[in-house]
């Protein structure tokens, strides 16, 4: 996916070093694809910043959910460090695997996971951005296939975390997102889906 971001960035007309800078500073997979689309489309700075940050608002809920799984009694690493690499992929992997680790190891395991993911993301972006131009020009199929990278990633993440919450939560979130798409901009539909899932889980837990 990182390589595909590098490819998508140069395809949108950005210099390779700009693509790498975006991955270093923003480090938010799906939002980066939207960012380059908006920038290439000539969106105003205020609207670009607003839309991308709204896309990332879902991360608001990741930190508390993750922190509740870390052993707070033996916290050694500073929270600003633990928060830095909290992407969709790192979150999904963490919540499905942290419980398998002893409490005192969880923090370092998580820190290693996010460091590895960050370095791979930046290196992959550089690979795609600096070497991808020739690949794209030589293959129309590759250019079209780039469009499936994000859906493939999200489906893989769903398979990773599907056992963590009941099926009705996921179905409710999907249904509310679809409804939201009819009346809201994309980021609004995402937030609506998230809130629907959380509300369903909250009500069932309270009723249990």
């Amino acid at each position: 996916m990182a390589i595909s971001f590098g490819l998508a960035a140069i395809h949108a007309g950005f210099a390779p070093w700009v693509a790498v800078l975006i991955s270093i500073l923003v480090y938010a997979g799906a939002a980066q694809f939207i960012l380059i689309t908006l920038l290439a489309g000539g969106g105003s700075p205020v609207s670009v910043i607003g839309i991308v940050l709204l896309m990332n608002v879902r991360h608001v809920f990741y930190g508390p959910a993750l922190a509740s799984r870390l052993d707070s009694s033996s916290r050694r690493l500073p929270t600003p460090l633990l928060a830095a690499g909290l992407t969709d992929e790192v979150f999904a992997t963490s919540i499905s695997k942290l419980a398998e680790r002893p409490g005192h190891e969880r923090e370092y395991w998580y820190a290693g996971l996010q460091l590895g993911a960050y370095l791979a993301w930046v290196a992959g972006t550089a690979l795609g951005a600096y070497f991808g131009k020739d690949w794209l020009q030589s293959s129309a199929v590759l250019a079209q296939t780039l469009g499936f990278v994000l859906p493939a990633l999200f489906f893989a993440l769903l398979l990773e975390i599907r056992g963590i919450v009941p099926w009705y939560v996921l179905a409710g979130a999907a249904a509310m997102t679809l409804i939201g798409m009819a009346v809201l901009p994309a980021y609004g539909a995402i937030v609506a889906g998230m809130l629907a899932g959380a509300l369903l889980r909250f009500r069932r837990a309270r009723g249990a």
Binding site: I49, A67, L82, A84, L86, V141, L158, L159, I190, A205
Partner: protein, 113 residues
Amino acid sequence: MQTGTVIWIVVVIGIGTYLIRLLPMLWHDRDGKSGARPANWRYALDAVGPSAIVALLVLSFWDMLSPMPTWKAGMPILAGLAGVWLGKHYLKTIAWATLGGVLAYGLVVGAMG
């Protein structure tokens, strides 16, 4: 758009995204010291991440299939999803599953011309 403008937009978004991740964790740490949340709140928090991922998946399919689903658009997607599932089932990791799906999608796109 000028490169200088792009850079400051990227810097602002980078700082904003970091704060979106950091501040809720800091608030959680502070609240955790004053007492645990009720269990139903914990369940609700746990549901938010998976719900976000489902929402992103729905949104990405919407983009690929709109304005009207067709067989030509649908067949590579079905192959790609099967590739993800096979990659996850046999190779276990998210990265291999994603790669498996992308390869399957690309193969069908290439075969359909």
